[in-house]
């Protein structure tokens, strides 16, 4: 990376800090990532495509992206409501609830995994009520969705909340004085303002959910073709010492993750433009 100061500054330490930061980042993150790509490209093109498009792998993509999308969508809807309630309404215990929203960030995913599995198994606290209805959650793809909803729950709430807080009450009052109803105000004034944040939150939740491993492996059942997520498939390949296969599937996942990261950056830039 060519990083040269555009403008000299009187503050000291530019070369030192930039050098250290770039060096550390290269050593810990960039070089290992580059090595993974190199490993995958040791395969011929046919071998590569044969691995990453094998039926079992394709099934795992479908499951991983499908459940992650569903979980992110659920969190977008409920996250908006939670953020709305936390910003707009007063109720007892609000600060506690507000603090608790971050629990999935702080709780190790393995703990979430075994707890949700226990809760949703057929004799668990929640599973026992679902069983008579013929709904099976643990050890099925719907269990994966439950785990992913848990681990990606804070994203939408935490991206939408500050934007809602910064919305000026006067704009809504102005709309009301012009004769708009509450629903019209939400649809035409509030929603456009929070849309970038909502999309950012959705993308963050989605990106987090597709990479998730710890909480999912306990609840998923891990049946190939049915409930085997892509990260688990990578671990399986590793355990069989199929390094190239694991690297190939990882490269596909990484490429998708990078695209999502790019989307998040663009969305945040869009959100900032909106605020000005």
């Amino acid at each position: 990376m060519s990083a040269s100061p555009r403008q000299p500054s009187v503050l000291p330490g530019f070369n030192l800090t930039l050098g250290l930061a770039v060096g550390y980042l290269s050593l810990i993150v960039l070089i290992p990532l580059a090595m993974a790509f190199l490993k995958a490209f040791q395969l011929s093109a046919e071998e590569f495509w044969a691995i990453v498009l094998a039926p079992r792998v394709l099934a795992s993509y479908r499951l991983t992206f499908g459940t992650a999308f569903l979980a992110a969508a659920i969190n977008t809807a409920f996250g908006l409501i939670v953020a709305w309630v936390l910003v707009r309404y007063r109720f007892p215990g609000k600060r506690l609830v507000d603090a608790l929203v971050d629990l999935p960030f702080a709780l190790p995913t393995a703990v979430a995994g075994i707890t949700l599995t226990t809760l949703y198994s057929s004799n668990g606290w929640i599973g026992q009520f679902l069983k008579p209805l013929g709904i099976k959650v643990a050890f099925t793809p719907s269990g994966i969705v439950v785990a992913l909803v848990f681990i990606s729950l804070p994203f939408v709430v935490r991206t939408v909340q500050p934007v809602l807080e910064d919305l000026e009450a006067e704009v809504e009052e102005a709309a009301a004085s012009l004769g708009a109803g509450r629903w019209q105000i939400f649809r035409r004034i509030i929603f456009p303002a929070i849309r970038p944040a909502l999309l950012t939150g959705f993308t963050l939740a989605f990106a987090r959910a597709i990479g998730e491993y710890g909480s999912v492996i306990f609840i998923a059942g891990n049946l190939p073709m049915v409930s085997e997520i892509t990260p688990l498939l990578i671990v399986g390949k590793l355990e069989q010492y199929d390094y190239r296969g694991a690297a190939a599937v990882s490269v596909v996942m990484l490429a998708i993750s990078f695209i999502l990261l790019l989307c998040i950056n663009l969305l945040q830039r869009w959100g900032r433009l909106r605020q000005v």
Binding site: F14, L18, D102, I114
Partner: protein, 289 residues
């Protein structure tokens, strides 16, 4: 964070009571189902077989060894990434240079990488068939399925936390105070310690707390590089997995409850910092008054 200073919206511009009630009920029910019930379940399951089983599970030598390794990995990863965060934030927030936005994006990269892939990266580098595998084997150094691999994986997944907190904070603060210190004759080092650091201390602490939480709880990346050797390369989250897979549910939840308690402490510290910085921000918001 809430905005307690905002007056309650006038009745004309809020929803009808039944809508408010409905939204509140939906939000609370959702959070109850997904946050409170699991939280309660951890402790319920942990103590289901009685306090004796609980104590035995968390004082088991393997459990203690796992706790020690977990703390060790965090003690390596957190200071390293704290230093990185401060250094990177200084370069990014205080200077203009080409490629800055690329650097900021690269710092976020570990967040976008699945933990399993993070672990895989180090297996590909240092594993038996990895780039440096044969060389390491010749030197008789073990990285994968050993402690160094666990530390590396933990460092990787926690790289962004401190930097992400500090960059926007230092950008918002600007460089005027540092410039003022320099004009008054202070050197670069003195300026950093006496002016910059006091201004960013809460953001730094916040980042460190989040970084610690992730370092202690990391599962996927560590799982891939660990090899799950009890008493040697088992962290506490991995220990929970082993116990659970051996159907020792009470013991698994006992260890899980320790991690949960720690998560709650993290949340409490985090909330305190948020309140503190919110209070600090209020009086100074009247800059132009």
């Amino acid at each position: 964070m809430t905005a307690p200073s905002r007056p309650a919206p006038a009745a004309t511009v809020t929803e009808p009571p039944w809508v408010r009630g409905l939204l509140l009920a939906v939000a609370l029910l959702f959070l109850l189902l997904f946050l409170v019930v699991p939280l309660a379940a951890v402790f319920y399951e942990a103590f289901r077989k009685g306090a004796g089983v609980y104590l035995a599970a968390i004082t088991d030598p393997y459990a203690l060894e796992a706790i020690r390794l977990t703390l060790f990995a965090a003690a390596c990863a957190v200071p390293l990434n704290m230093l990185f965060g401060v250094v990177a934030a200084w370069a990014i927030a205080k200077f203009e240079f080409r490629g800055k936005s690329v650097l900021v994006t690269l710092i976020d990269l570990p967040f976008a990488v699945s933990p399993v892939i993070a672990g895989l990266l180090f297996v590909l580098l240092f594993g038996a068939q990895g780039w440096f595998g044969p060389w390491l084997k010749a030197q008789d150094i073990k990285v994968i399925f050993a402690v160094p691999g666990i530390v590396l994986a933990t460092v990787f997944v926690t790289v962004p936390f401190v930097a992400r907190e500090l960059i926007p904070l230092m950008q918002a603060q600007g460089s005027e105070q540092e410039e003022a210190a320099l004009v008054l004759g202070a050197g670069g080092w003195v300026t950093f310690w006496r002016i910059t650091l006091p201004n960013i201390k809460w953001g730094l602490l916040y980042g460190v707390v989040l970084c610690t939480a992730r370092a202690l709880g990391e599962f996927g990346a560590v799982s891939v590089v660990s090899g799950h050797v009890r008493g040697l390369t088992n962290t506490l989250p991995l220990h929970v997995e082993i116990l659970y897979n051996e159907y020792q549910f009470a013991a698994a939840f006992a260890c899980a409850s320790l991690l949960t308690l720690f998560a709650l402490v993290i949340l409490a510290i985090k909330t305190l910092i948020e309140r503190r910085t919110a209070r600090q921000r209020r009086p100074s918001s009247g800059e132009t008054a």
